[in-house]
Symmetry: C2
Subunit: 395 residues, 2 copies
């Protein structure tokens, strides 16, 4: 009598959430210090000082209605102006306040963008494995079809021939996510150039715009001097979905934006449809205080060096032990090849040593596991024995 | 090529927003003090002191991840437990933490509840004129049909015979809103008893649950010693959609909840579907800091006495002038009969005197106008001459 789909979506716990809950139970039995939980991607490095400073300043200097009132649906004009200035300085682009639409975080950005672009139930959005599992939920619920491109397990870039095959007359857009969750890989300029050139060719072939949705919550979480390139520089029809959840360690505050540059085909119409979609989905405006907070924190991030310590420690030790893994240059995940074909079974075996790692089947990449290293570095050190035991099990 | 519906929804400015923008333009021409803008329902009374105090305390005493991390999708357990305790003390009910699902405000509450309940495109939700215009947007976009019950223009309660006629085998639920926007009326116990008895009879007739969705953002904005009754006491299948936007003057912060008491038919399944719907629409969790803030402000409200001063001043003066208006006992709106049949034209005439009032056509109640009195009391005093001139125009 109620919605069967919504019931099932609510009843089905994600593998990650299951593991996390298992870890809490297991801690009660064997002690917290003996459980090595690498399941969840919740930032552990604190928000930078500017976040608290901005809040205290706003609370001191502003009247209640100046910080807590509805903003316009697109977001506060001064905030959007400030974001445009920051992006223009950082990426040498020419953005204006009206290219930005403030949202309640990355999931909201994606849902609103997908809803705005989907004209028909036959519309297809392509996602590239390994991908964030909720992409499938969002695309399906915004009324479109999911098309999956298999992973490039050599480098975790994109197999362009497979992406080309996936594009049909029904393709409305492609979602990319770099730095990538779960692989930790940053798409190279070469990859982005190839995407741009393929999409231009295909847009011409099908005589319709193909939108590239760039989901970038990890844009600033990068290592080894690598920088995540500005994607619209490679392809005009690019819509950026951003969130401050990871860069400022504010995942609970639900603050982000959709960026629709003027070079996007029918950019004004797309922007208007984004406003309509936000309204249709019940997003009245992005949280008002945090709109002002993130404005005051432009260019700041949580201390990425702390994640980097974890990254190096885990990568070096695990590859030393003989685990196979691409060296991650962004986000806070290590993407490791399971020591057997069945990663689900491999992760079950890991649980014997109280090692909680996530099989990548739900990420569209069977045979691999995701290890979140946004954790206490001491836990990493304590976990090495368990990783060694798991390795030995397969000798 | 993009969504036509979303484009149109984004392009169509609401009458209220149009008037508000017109007011800003007109202020530049005739001076801000000579424009009397009664268009928008944005709380003017500041948030109570507990809001700032709670934020400062949380910032002082908590670590970053204790206030800014993802909460569970339903909301922080301690917060939901606190809300249950507060409601049990206030309304003598038996609620538990797991009856509450925290949301990003009233619009999110409604969209998520509607999405969870809608099983089929033929499902109908009944709304009662005068109603908040966005109800139509939310119902349609969550995939159901809108059915409208005409207004009771004598008392702005509900014409029960018309509500009965509106219920069909396709009815899934009824949305009520008391204290009401735009009428300011609080539904009497008699009205709620009649709704309960009608819905029980009709549920039996159609052998299916009929859900009563009680949208209550104005629950605490009441006057003359009136109290908004606890709706589930009158009908078991009641789902409450609440928001702190008005009671704590926090409309920009997007914080509220859905309450599904155990007495709701299939309450566990409905709650699970609500979790699924929140996920499907991209609502990851309600803003984490403000979840904790509102917990510390349970039982507190903005200073309603300040709205009451405005209410009395406007009601007394306007009825003295000969305007017809039901005496509002809640919210912050006066619902006045236009002095001609065409309220749109009446409001155009009002603009001649720089008086900005909203025709209620979009609220499903032609021939009436909504006057928001969450405004500066001095503006009200200055506006009386304009109201008199408008009156004289129709003599």
């Amino acid at each position: 009598m109620i919605s069967k789909e919504m019931y099932e979506l609510g009843a089905k716990r994600s593998t990650i959430r299951e593991l996390f809950e298992y870890g809490k139970q297991q801690s009660l039995i064997v002690g917290k210090e003996n459980v090595f939980d690498f399941s969840i991607g919740n930032p552990t490095v604190p928000a930078p000082a500017c976040v608290k400073e901005a809040m205290l300043e706003l609370l001191e200097t502003c009247k209640s209605d100046e910080i807590h009132s509805y903003t316009s649906a697109q977001g506060d004009f001064e905030v959007r102006k400030g974001l445009a200035d920051y992006m223009n300085n950082t990426y040498n682009c020419q953005l204006k306040a009206d290219n930005f639409y403030m949202t309640c975080g990355a999931a909201a950005s994606l849902c609103i963008a997908l809803k705005a672009l989907t004209a028909d139930a036959s519309d297809e959005f392509i996602i590239i494995a390994p991908y964030f599992p909720e992409y499938q939920v969002f695309i399906a619920n915004m009324g479109a079809q999911v098309v999956i491109v298999p992973p490039d397990t050599d480098n975790f870039q994109i197999q362009m021939d497979l992406l080309e095959k996936a594009i049909t007359k029904n393709t409305k857009g492609i979602i990319i996510n770099s730095p990538n969750n779960p692989s930790g890989v940053v798409y190279s300029e070469e990859t982005l150039k190839a995407i741009g050139s393929l999409l231009r060719r295909k847009s011409e072939e099908y005589k319709k715009p193909l939108y590239l949705i760039s989901d970038e919550p990890y844009r600033e979480i990068v290592y080894d001097g690598v920088h995540a390139p500005y994607v619209p520089a490679f392809y005009d029809n690019t819509i950026i979905c951003y969130s401050y959840s990871k860069s400022l360690s504010l995942p609970g505050e639900r603050i982000g934006y959709i960026l629709i540059p003027d070079d996007v085909e029918n950019s004004k119409e797309v922007y208007t449809a984004v406003c309509g979609a936000g309204r249709a989905l019940g997003y009245v405006c992005a949280p008002s205080l945090f709109q002002k907070v993130i404005l005051k924190c432009q260019g700041k991030t949580s201390d990425v060096a702390l994640y980097d310590i974890n990254r190096k420690m885990l990568y070096d030790k695990l590859t030393d032990m003989g685990y196979q893994c691409v060296r991650p240059q962004g986000a806070f995940y290590l993407f490791v090849k399971a020591l057997e074909k069945d990663a689900v079974n491999f992760c079950e075996n890991a649980k014997k040593f109280n090692l909680l790692i996530v099989p990548a089947d739900d990420f569209g990449c069977p045979g691999y596991v995701r290890i979140s290293y946004c954790v206490d570095p001491d836990m990493i050190k304590r976990s090495f024995e368990a990783f060694q035991k798991l390795r030995d099990l397969y000798k």
